[in-house]
Symmetry: C2
Subunit: 343 residues, 2 copies
C-alpha cells in the first residue's frame, strides 16, 4: 500500500481510485485553445490535467486556468527550478520536475521550501530520453535516478512525492516500476512515454500500464499518444476497465465467432455498444455465437445471448429467460437493456 498524496481535491495512492491524467498540447499561453482542451479532457473523464510551463507568459495564463477550473492542474517543468517555484506559489495542484535537468541540490532545496510552504506535492518524473548523467540506462538506471532524487527530497524533510519512471520501451518501463515499487511507498504514476500514434501507442500503453495495474502496482496513469489528448483519456479508461479498476460501465463480452455462429454477431455487438455507451453503473452483457462458451459466459453476465442451432437463448441475471428466433436478438436485448437502465 502506497501513502496518500493530496493533489487539491484528488487523492493519489493509499488505495484510492486509480486516477487518469493527461496533458494539454496547445500553447499554454493560448488561453482560448488551452481552456477548450481542458474542458474536453474533463468531459472525457480526465481526473488531473498537466500543462507545460515554459516561461512567465505561461505562468500568467495558468493563473487563469487555476482560477477557472476545479480539476487539479499540474505544472510540467523542465530545466528551470525558478519556474517550478512560481508554479507552486500560484497554486498549481502538483509540480512535476525532471531530475535529469532540474539542476543541483541548492536549487532543489529552494523548490522544496516553496512546496512545503504551499503544500504542493512534487512528482519526480524520470524519463528514459532525459535521464541524468552517470546513472547508465535501462530499468535499473531509471529506478536508481528516481530513488536518488527521492532521497534528496527526503533529506530536505519533504515527503509529498509522486514518482514516475517512464520509458518508450515497454519491458523496461514495467521492470523499472517494479523496482521502485519494492523500494518505497510513494504513489506511482505509470506511463509508457513516447509510445507513438494511437494504434501502436495504445497497445504499448495497455501492456505497460495494464500489466502493472493487474499486479496491484500503480496509483495514477497517463497514456501518452501522438494526437488529441482526449484519445489518451479514452484509452486510459479502457485500461482501467480491462483490469477491473473501473466497473461503472457496460462491459461487453463477445466472441470472435467461428463457423459455429449462426447470426450476425458483429452488428449486434455494435448496436449493444451504441445502446450502452451512456451506462454509468456496472453492467455486463455477453453476446455469444454458440453453445460452446455461450451459456457459461451468458450466465455469468447480467444479460446474455447465446446462439444455438437456428434459435438463440436469452439469459437474465444468470437464468435462461427466453428462447427466441435469431432475428429477435437485437430487439429483445434492447428491451432488457432499457429495463436495466430504468432501475
Amino acid at each position: 500500500m502506497t501513502r496518500t498524496i493530496k493533489v487539491k481535491n484528488v487523492l493519489i495512492g493509499g488505495g484510492n481510485r486509480v486516477t487518469v491524467q493527461s496533458m494539454t498540447n496547445t500553447k499554454t499561453a493560448d488561453i482560448a485553445a488551452t481552456s477548450e482542451q481542458i474542458e474536453r479532457l474533463i468531459k472525457a473523464g480526465c481526473d488531473i490535467v498537466r500543462l507545460a510551463v515554459c516561461g512567465d507568459e505561461d505562468v500568467n495564463a495558468c493563473k487563469q486556468y487555476i482560477k477557472n477550473f476545479d480539476i487539479p492542474l499540474v505544472a510540467d517543468i523542465q530545466f528551470d527550478y525558478r519556474l517550478a517555484i512560481k508554479c507552486s506559489d500560484i497554486g498549481f495542484g502538483k509540480v512535476r520536475i525532471n531530475p535529469g535537468n532540474i539542476g543541483d541540490e541548492d536549487k532543489v532545496r529552494e523548490l522544496v521550501a516553496a512546496c512545503k510552504a504551499n503544500h504542493t506535492p512534487l512528482r519526480i518524473g524520470v524519463n528514459g530520453g532525459s535521464l541524468e548523467k552517470n546513472v547508465g540506462s535501462g530499468a535499473e538506471a531509471l529506478a536508481k535516478s528516481a530513488l536518488k532524487n527521492v532521497a534528496l527530497l527526503e533529506k530536505f524533510g519533504f515527503n509529498d512525492i509522486v514518482i514516475s519512471v517512464k520509458s518508450s520501451d515497454v519491458v523496461t518501463m514495467i521492470q523499472a516500476n517494479r523496482l521502485v515499487g519494492k523500494e518505497c511507498d510513494y504513489p506511482l504514476h505509470l506511463g509508457v512515454t513516447e509510445s507513438g500514434d494511437v494504434e501502436t501507442g495504445t497497445i504499448k500503453s495497455s501492456i505497460g500500464i495494464g500489466s502493472l495495474l493487474a499486479d496491484g502496482i500503480g496509483d495514477t496513469i497517463r497514456v501518452s499518444l501522438s494526437g488529441d489528448p482526449v484519445a489518451e483519456v479514452v484509452a486510459a479508461k479502457n485500461i482501467l476497465r480491462a483490469v477491473g479498476l473501473d466497473k461503472n460501465y457496460c462491459e461487453i463480452i463477445s466472441c470472435p465467432t467461428c463457423s459455429r455462429c449462426g447470426y450476425d454477431l458483429g452488428s449486434v455487438v455494435r448496436a449493444v455498444r451504441e445502446a450502452t455507451n451512456d451506462v454509468d453503473f456496472p453492467l455486463k452483457i455477453a453476446v455469444m455465437g454458440c453453445v460452446v462458451n455461450g451459456p457459461g459466459e451468458a450466465k455469468s453476465a447480467d444479460l446474455g445471448v447465446a446462439g444455438g442451432g437456428d434459435k438463440a437463448v436469452l439469459f437474465r441475471k444468470g437464468e435462461i429467460f427466453k428462447t427466441i428466433p435469431m432475428g429477435d436478438i437485437l430487439p429483445e436485448l434492447n428491451k432488457l437493456i432499457a429495463e436495466f437502465k430504468k432501475r
Copy 2:
C-alpha cells in the same frame, strides 16, 4: 524454457519465435469463403490458422484446405471426440480439444492413440465459459482443469501437448497462465477469450497477452476480436512488437507533444508511418517535439528528429546530422528513410 512442439513446419515453444494464430469465422464447409479468409490471414502474417470442425461436411472441406495451403491448420473440436480423431487422420497440424466437453477417459484414450499414430499434437484448450464441472471457477480452476487433463494425456504416454487457459477476465487469464507455467514445461498458447470488439478487445488482449510475454511466458498467441480475423493478426503482431519479440519493422517513437512542440508532429508521424509500412528489417525512428526528451530518444534511434526553438535537429545513427528549418523535417526524413531502405 518450454519443450518444442512441431505443428507441421512451425515450431511452438523451446525458445522458438512466438507465433501468431487466428481462426476463420466463415462457414468451414464454404470452401470459397474460407479459402479466401485463410489467404488473407496468411498475407497479414498469421503463422497458424484454426478452423471449427463441426461435422463430416467440414471434415471434407478441410481435406481441401490441408492439401491447398502450406500454413499449418488446427482443428477446433468441441464435444465430439470422433471428429477429433478424423481431423488427426486427415492430416491437421494440430487438434484443439476442450476438456470441458470432450467426454470421459475412454474417449480421450482413443483420441490419443490416433494422435500418436499420426504425430498430431493436441492443444488442451480450457476456457472460463466452458470449464468442466467440479473444478470451481477463477484462475486456479482454469489451471487445475488444464493440468488435470495434461496428466490424463501423460497417463496414456502422450506428451505432444500445447496448453491454453483462457478467460474473458484479463487478471484471471494472467494468473492462470502463471500458475500453469510454473507447473509444467508444455508450450503455452495465450489468449483473452471473448474479449469484445476491436477497440476494447485489443486493449484487453494487449494487457493479458503482453504482460505474460514481457515476463517471458507464452509461446504462441491468439488475439480474439469480434470482427474480421485479419484484425486479430494485426493486433497480435503489434503486441509482439511492443514487447520486443518482433523487431523486423519500423518502430516509431513519437511524443504526445505539449506546449513546447513547434511543428505539426502528428502529420510527420503519419507520413513516416506511411513511408515505412513496408520496412521488414529493424529500424527505429524517433519523431520528437522538443529538446527535453528529443535528443535522448533521437540518439538511441536509427533516425531521429527533435524540435528546438524554430529549428529542428536531425539525428542519424546516434549522431547529430543536420540542423534544418521546421518545414524541412518531412522531406529530410524521407530522404534518410529511402537511404536506409536501399541498404
